[in-house]
């Protein structure tokens, strides 16, 4: 549980920490689009440099990121493996039944791995440097246009911030219940797939029960304080767009244009 860093906040006061959450959200979306525009290695190199520079500006060490990747490794390897073994191509190096390794497969797998890594790095950077509530505020702001089509923006934002707020709480609860069940002889780490899946039951049921308890307590607290949703709620945290945010946005625009031009010439 301690190892997964995606979704955690890393307290700090770096340049990246201070950027407007709206900007960071937009840049993350933009970055994912750029990743898929990029089709050649020089473009990936450029994006890689951007990622490393952003991590550097956040003041969080690169090795911390790399360690945080470890829990995601299975997912990455699985996807890369799929690409590697199931892409059919002209130059086949190895074949066994329906599995084959071809030149195209190798290249595709490498692309997928790099895309995965870059996207994970960037989104991890977002969550590490932005408090969950800031993210929720940013999303609420960015979703505002959807009000036109009667999308319940405020309610969704409230749900989001509540959900985010309780992630650490549920993490703690998970650790606690895991410990209690390990003390009663449950082994979460050994045994076959079925045994391990069965071992999750004593964890998931108590976790579900406590989530329901938390939710009902929170509801009671909100009702007793007269919470009402909808229009006209004033806000406690106000997002502030600074000149540096504009500069970074402009720089990202330049990067986007640059990347598209680069792709054209390659």
């Amino acid at each position: 549980m301690d190892k997964l860093i995606l979704g955690r906040y890393y307290p700090g006061d770096s340049f990246v920490h201070r950027l407007d959450p709206r900007l960071k959200l937009i840049l993350n979306i933009l970055f994912i689009i750029l990743i898929f525009i990029a089709q050649h290695w020089p473009s990936y190199l450029l994006l890689g440099v951007v990622v490393v520079a952003s991590v550097w500006a956040s003041g969080i060490s690169l090795s911390f990121f790399l360690r945080g990747l470890r829990p995601m490794l299975v997912l990455i390897l699985f996807t890369v493996g799929l690409q590697l073994f199931f892409t059919s191509g002209q130059h086949v190096y190895w074949q066994w039944g329906i599995l084959s390794v071809s030149q195209e497969g190798l290249i595709n797998a490498a692309y997928i791995a790099v895309r995965f890594l870059l996207i994970i790095f960037m989104s991890t950077l977002l969550t590490l440097t932005t408090q969950p509530l800031e993210i929720a505020d940013g999303l609420e702001y960015l979703m505002k246009p959807l009000k036109v089509v009667k999308f319940p923006v405020n309610e969704v934002a409230l749900m989001l911030s509540i959900a985010l707020r309780f992630v650490p709480k549920l993490m703690d609860e998970t650790t606690k219940i895991m410990n209690a069940q390990r003390a009663r002889g449950v082994d979460f780490n050994n045994g076959g797939l079925i045994k391990r899946a069965k071992a999750l039951l004593p964890l998931l049921i108590p976790l579900m029960m406590s989530s329901i308890d938390i939710a009902s307590d929170l509801t009671t607290a909100m009702i007793s304080r007269g919470y009402r949703d909808g229009e006209g709620r004033s806000r406690y945290r106000i997002l502030q767009w600074r000149p540096t945010d504009t500069v970074i946005l402009a720089a990202s625009g330049v990067l986007t244009v640059g990347l598209i031009v680069l792709e054209r010439f390659l």
Partner: protein, 289 residues
């Protein structure tokens, strides 16, 4: 079972920027069959300490010796299964660990994990339930249908059903009413006597410390600050106050009586001791009227 901590240190999330010290240089000994209390402020490392007793946490330096088993930073998880059976750990708010369809099944869960047959496990579970005062009529109920106090008892029965030789209790009475607390503490004292258990109790209730503990460990910032009998620990009210520790209620009463001019040669910690020193002085007070 004898328990010894030798130069034990533990760091949370070691080797990461978020590393925080949990324990440092802990040297402790808990004698077999003794009743030990661990006190200290929130965040002083009490819970971290007790999680070393059954290998939920492995020390980052030093060694923990429980009976025959030595736990070092290199100990593998697999080697701890037997230890987990011998050391029963009751967490804070243990009712949150209940998950089975029936009370009986939940209590039988641990013995089954530790290799008992279903029939044996059921028998042990029934015994453990009787021990904590849960009757047969509740066995088939869903644990979530019970009252808070009953759930707590069932959860504790679930740990006792492991038939541990060491019982670790992390604030077992938190959130209970005074009567429930009293009953629970007496229950633990009885079980300790009957089964010759080594008990380690983490608590904020100084009255329980005075009443039950043979040895008291005061933790501060991950380090045992003072170890001794309750009498030694509570002898110095100024020292206690300096470390934000409360006196037991008799001690608090004594402090107020002293302000009123009563004199005490030694600090009484129990009601009989208090009375022995107080009654002669009361007789000297002239009665008005």
């Amino acid at each position: 079972m004898d328990i010894t901590f030798k130069q034990v240190s533990y760091t949370y999330q070691a080797n990461s920027p978020l590393a925080t010290p949990g324990l440092r240089d802990v040297d402790l000994h808990f004698a077999s069959g003794s009743y030990n209390a661990i006190i200290g402020q929130t965040g002083s490392g009490k819970s971290t300490l007790v999680q070393h007793l059954n290998g939920l946490l492995i020390p980052t330096a030093g060694q923990v010796i429980v009976g025959q088993q030595v736990i070092t930073p290199l100990t593998k998880n697999k080697a701890l299964h037997d230890l987990r059976r011998q050391v029963g750990l009751v967490f804070q708010f243990p009712e949150s660990q209940l998950f089975e369809e029936t009370v009986l099944k939940d209590v039988a869960f641990a013995p089954k994990n530790f290799g008992k047959t279903p029939a044996e496990a059921t028998a042990i579970a029934q015994q453990a339930l009787r021990l904590v005062g849960i009757g047969p009529e509740l066995e088939a109920k869903m644990p979530f249908d019970l009252s808070g106090g009953q759930m707590r008892r069932v959860a504790i029965a679930g740990v006792l059903a492991m038939e541990p030789e060491v019982l670790v209790l992390d604030e077992p009475t938190a959130g209970l009413d005074p009567v429930g607390r009293e009953e629970m503490m007496q229950l633990f004292a009885r079980i300790q006597q009957e089964r010759q258990l080594t008990v380690i109790l983490v608590t904020h209730q100084m009255d329980d410390v005075v009443r039950y503990a043979d040895q008291v460990v005061v933790m501060e910032q991950g380090h045992p600050l003072k170890v001794g009998s309750p009498r030694e620990i509570f002898a110095d009210p100024t020292w206690l106050a300096a470390h934000n520790l409360e006196l037991p209620s008799t001690g608090q009463l004594v402090a107020r009586l002293q302000q009123q001019g009563f004199e005490f040669t030694t600090l009484p910690l129990t009601v009989p001791e208090l009375l022995a020193q107080l009654t002669p002085q009361l007789r000297q007070v002239p009665v008005d009227g």
